[in-house]
Symmetry: D3
Subunit: 240 residues, 6 copies
C-alpha cells in the first residue's frame, strides 16, 4: 500500500519530519511517499498561505506519476481537502479531522493545542465543517510560530504543556490533539507531563488511511466529490 503524505509548506525539513512520523506510524507493508508542494509558502500560518497551499498540494499530486492508495493532507486547519477528494478516487484523510475523530474514541471531550492564536478560528472552522466539533472542549494556541517549534523545542514544549494542562483542567478536555504538523516529535514528552492521551494528527491519519484502504473504501463519487467536469482552464496550472 502506498500513501502520499503531503506537507502543505515548501520547507523540506518539515516534509522530512512529517515523513518520519508517518513511517513510524505505518504498518510494515505501507510505503510512505512524502510530497512537498511545488509552490507556496515556507510555512502556513493564515488563510492566504493556506489557500495557496491547497492548490499547490492538488497540482503537485496531479503531477505525481505513480499509483497510490490514499492521500494524507498533513497541515493542521488547512483548506483544500474537498478538492483532493474530487480530483482523486483514493481516500483523502486530513490530519485535523483524523486527530479529532481519533480523540473521540478515547475520551468524552478533546481539545486541540495549536501554535498561533490566528490559527484557532481556522481549526475551529475545519472541525465544524467536518461535523467533529461538538465534543471539542476548546482549540487553544500556545503562542508559538510554526518554525519556532524546530528552533527551540524546549520552550515549545513548556508552552504546549501549559496550554494542554489548561485545556484539561479548565476546558475539561480528556484528550489532547497536537494541532500542528511539526509537533509530531513532541508527542511523547507531552504525554508524560499531562497524563491524558495525546493524539498526533499525522499518525492518526496514517492509521485511518490504512484502515480505509484495507476495507477497500474510497471517496463517494455521487455528488459532492464527483470528478471535476471537463472544461477549459486559462493559464493554469502554472508552469514550473
Amino acid at each position: 500500500m502506498r500513501i502520499l503524505v503531503a506537507n502543505v509548506n515548501t520547507t523540506a525539513s518539515m516534509t522530512d519530519a512529517i515523513a518520519r512520523q508517518a513511517r513510524e506510524a505505518a504498518n510494515p507493508g505501507t510505503e510512505i511517499v512524502p510530497i512537498t508542494p511545488a509552490f507556496g509558502a515556507e510555512s502556513i500560518e493564515g488563510n492566504y498561505e493556506s489557500y495557496v497551499a491547497a492548490v499547490a498540494v492538488m497540482e503537485t499530486i496531479r503531477a505525481y506519476d505513480d499509483e497510490f492508495d490514499a492521500i494524507v493532507q498533513a497541515g493542521y486547519g488547512e483548506h483544500g481537502r474537498e478538492g483532493l477528494q474530487e480530483l482523486f478516487d483514493v481516500p483523502v484523510v486530513d490530519i485535523t479531522e483524523a486527530a479529532a475523530a481519533t480523540a473521540m474514541f478515547l475520551g468524552h471531550k478533546y481539545s486541540v493545542v495549536t501554535t498561533l492564536d490566528r490559527a484557532v478560528p481556522m481549526i475551529e472552522d475545519r472541525l465544524k465543517l467536518a461535523g467533529l466539533f461538538e465534543r471539542c472542549a476548546s482549540v487553544r494556541a500556545s503562542g508559538l510560530a510554526v518554525l519556532e517549534l524546530e528552533r527551540d523545542p524546549d520552550a515549545a514544549i513548556e508552552a504546549i504543556v501549559a496550554t494542554a494542562a489548561w485545556a484539561v483542567e479548565v476546558d475539561r478536555a480528556e484528550v489532547i490533539c497536537l494541532g500542528c504538523g511539526g509537533m509530531s516529535s513532541l508527542t511523547r514528552r507531552v504525554v508524560e507531563r499531562t497524563g491524558v492521551p495525546v493524539v498526533d494528527g499525522v499518525s492518526a491519519a496514517i492509521k485511518l488511511a490504512e484502515g480505509l484502504v484495507a476495507q477497500q473504501l474510497s471517496t463517494s463519487k455521487i455528488r459532492s466529490y464527483a470528478p471535476p467536469r471537463p472544461k477549459h482552464f486559462f493559464n493554469w496550472p502554472p508552469r514550473p
Copy 2:
C-alpha cells in the same frame, strides 16, 4: 494484538458471523476473540434487551482471563460503551460510532440503514451522544427483524437496497452505513446495487481498534472513564 469482539446477543451463530467479518477485516497479526455474553437475549431489538446486553458484555469481559488490547462492541445502537471504557484500560470501539466516523471520511453526508423502525431513535441517540450526528443524512429502517436477516437474506437485501437508495436520493446521503451486526455478509451485494461506499460497522471498528492500539492510545482515565471507585455490590454479578 488481541481484540475482543463482543456480540451483544446470546445467539452463537451471530457471534460466528461477526467473528468471520472481524477476521476478514483484521490485519494478519491480529487475533480476534469472539465474545458471546454469558446472559441476555437471543437478539437485541429494543432498550430493555440492550441494557441487559450492556451489563452482560461488561460482566462477560470482566470474567475473561487473558490479556487483550482492545474491545469492539458489535451491536448497532446499543447501550454500554461508557461502562466498558470505565472498566478497562484498553480502547473500546462501538460499531455504531466506528461506522459513522469512517463514513465521514468518504462523503459529505452518510445514512444508516438498520432493521426495525424502533431501532431508529436508539441509533440516532447514540450518534448524537457521540457527536457524530451532524453529517448524518438519515437513519432509516428496512423493516426487518434481526433474525430474519439470516433466514431470508434475499428479501433482506431487497429491503436494504431500497432503503439505501431512498437515503441516497432523497436524504442526499453519499455513504451508507449498514446498521446491524448481522448485516456484515451483505455488504458487497449492497455496494453493487447502490454505487456508493458501504461501511460495515464491524470491519470499521476492527480497523479503528487496530489503529488505536498501534498508536499506543487508550481510554483517557482522567474523568468520565476513570476506573470505578471501590465499593460493595449486593447480589452482583449474577452467578452462572
Copy 3:
C-alpha cells in the same frame, strides 16, 4: 394513585431518604412505594454501576406484584429510563429530566450542582439526550462523594453552596438543580444561602408524575417505547 419511587443504589437509608422527600412532595391521595434494587452497588458514581443499576431497577419493578400508576427513577444522571418506558405502560419520570424541565419554568437558565466531577459528563449526556440541555448554564461538581452527604452534611452544604454561587454568578444560572438523589434534605438550606429557586429532583419528579397520571397520559407505545418483542432470554433475569 400509587407511584413507585426507585432508588438506584442498594443502600436502604438512601431509599428511606428518597421516600421521605417523595412523600413530602406528594399529594395527600398519592401513595409512595419506595423501591430498593434487588442487586447492584451501594452507591452509583459512574457508568458501570449505573448500567447495573439500570437493569436492577427494571428487574426489581418487573418483580413487583401490585399495580402502580407511575415510576420515578430517583438517580441523578443515570442510565435506564428508556428501558423502563418499554417495559411498563405507566409514565416514567427521571429525576434528572424532571429537575431540568421544572427549572426551565422558573428562570432563563439553570445549572445542576452534583457531587463528583466524574458525574458531570454523565448528567450532561442525559440532559442532551432529553433535549433539555440548551438552557443549561452549567453542570458543576461540588467534589463530594454520594455517601459523604449523609456523613457530614455541614461540609456538604458549604461545598454545594459555593458551587451553586459560582454557577449563578459566573455561569449566569438563574435556577439551581440539586443533582443527586441524596441531596434532597439539603434543599431548604441551599435556598436560604443562594437566593435563587432550588429544584429538588425527587420532588419535581413526583409532581410531574402526579400531573401525568391525573391527565391520564402515559408512555407512547408507537415506536421507541413499544413493548419488548417476545424472545428467549438466556440466564436472565438472575435468580436471587
Copy 4:
C-alpha cells in the same frame, strides 16, 4: 390554591372553554380564575394581535385585586410570558411550553398540530426560545382558523386527525400536542383516532402550575425576570 388562567383573546366563550378545561384538569383544592383581557382582538392569529394580547394580559392581571398563586397563559405560540414573569412573583406557565415539556416525558419526539399555517413559525420560535424544540418532530397546521373550531367541530377534527396522523407517520412524532387554546374539548376524540398520547396545553399547564406551587417554587428574580425598575410611563396603561 388560586390559579389565574388567562385567555389571550377577548372572546368570552373561548375564556369559558379554557376555564372548563382548566377546572377539569385541576386538583379539587385548586380555584381556577379565568381572565379575559380588558382589550385586544377577538382571536389571535398573528404577531400583531399577539403582541397586543401580551400587554393586555399583563395589564389585566396587574389590575386584578385578589391574591393568586400562579398564572397560566392560555394562548398557543403567543408573546408575553417573559413580561408576566417580571411583573409577578408567582410561577407563570405558558401552554405552548407546558405541552411540549409534558410531551417530552411521553415519547421520543412530539409534534404540534395547530390551526393556521401562519402560526407555525410563531410556535416554532416560542419552542426554540424555550429550549424545548430539539425533540420537536414538526409543527404542522391543519388549515383552520381559530373561530372555526367552535363553529364546525367535526370538520375541525377531521383536519386535525389527518394532520396528526401525518406527523406521526412521516415526521415520526410519538406524541401530539394540540396547539390551540380552543382545541381542548377535542382532545379525547383525537386520541381515539391516532393511538398516540395527545397533550392538551391547558391541562398540562394547570398540572405544572399546581406542581410548582406545591413545591413552593417561584420565578427566579435574580436577572432576566427581576421586577421592572421604577420609572415614569407616559399615557400608559390605557384607561378603560
Copy 5:
C-alpha cells in the same frame, strides 16, 4: 427615500440622539423621520416595558399619515419586530439584528456590549431567534442604566471600553456591537480605545434599510408576515 426611525422609549432627547445618528449615517437623498412612541416608558430596561414599547411603536406608526419606505426599530434587544413586519409592507430593520449582521462581515466573531445585566438574556434571545447568534462570542453588560449614558458619558465610556476589551481578549470577539440605542455618540471613542471595528446599530440599520429599498426588496407576505386577518378589536387601540 423616507425611513421611519422608531425610538422605543418616550424620552424625546433619546429620539433626538437616535435621529442625529441616523441622519449622519444616511445617504443624502434619505429623509429620516424620527418616531417617539405615543405611549410607554421613559426608558426600556426589561421585558414588561419592552412589550409595551412594541405595541406602542406599532400603533404610533399605524397612526403615521405619510408614506414611507422602511422602518428602523431603534431599541436594542426589544420585542415587536415581527408585528411591524405583519402590519407594513416596507422592510423593517431591527438594530439588534442589523448590528449583528453587519459585524459578521467584519470579523470571525462579534460581541455585544450592552448596559444592564438583565438585558443580556433579552439580547441573546433576539439574536437566537434571528439566527444570528452562532458567531456571537458573548453578550456582556457594562452595568450602566440607559439614562446614565446621557448623564455621565465619561464613566459610561470607561465601563464600556473595559467590557469590550474583555470581550475581545477573553471571549475572542473580533468586532464589537454597541448594544444600546443611546450609545451611538460614543462609538468613535470606543474604536480608538479597543482597536477593533465597532458597529453602531442605528447606523447599520439605516444602511441596511437603504440597501433593501434600493433593491426594491420588501417583507415577504406569504406566511409569517402576511397582513393581519381582518377582525374585531375591543378597546384597542387606546385613545390618546
Copy 6:
C-alpha cells in the same frame, strides 16, 4: 467609492453580466471595477475549480494597482473569502453570504436555488461557516450547468421557477436567493412567477459593501484576518 467586483471564472461575458448587475444596484457615486481572474477555469462547478479561483482572485486583486474601497466576491458557494480578508484592509463581501444576510431581513426562512446538484453541499457549507444557515429552509439545485444559463435562458427560468416554488411550498421558504452569479438577469422574471422576494447575490453584496464603506467599517485585523506574516514564497505567484 470604488468597489472591485470579482468574477470567479475566466469567462469575460460572465464578468460583463456581473458588472452590469452590480452597476444597476450601485449608488450613483459608486464605481464598479469588474475583475476577471488572471487564471483559472471558464466556469466554477466544483471544489477543485473553486480553490483555483480562490487564489486566482486573490492574486489578480493583489496585482491591481489602483485604490479601492471594498471587494465583492461574485461566486456562489466558493472558497477564498477569508484569504481576501487577510490580504486587504477593505471590507470583503461574498455574494453567498450577502444574499443570505439580506434574505433574513425579509422573511422567516429563505432557500437558495442554485444550478448543479453538486453545488448544494458547497453552498450549505459556506452558509454554515458564515453562521447564516439556521434560517435556511433548503438549498436546492435546478439541475442546470452554469454556462447553460446564458445559452437557453427560457429553460433555465422554467427549472428555476419550479425549484423555487418547491422551496416555498414544501420547504416553507419565504424568500428565495438565486444561487449563481450568472442568474442575475433572471431575477425579475422569477419574482413575477413565485410571488416571494427574490434576492440577487450581486446586488445584495454591492449594497452591503456600500453600506460598510459609508460607515467607515472594515475588516477586523486582530486575529482571524490579521495580515499575512512576512515569509518566503517559492514559485509563487505564477508568472503570466
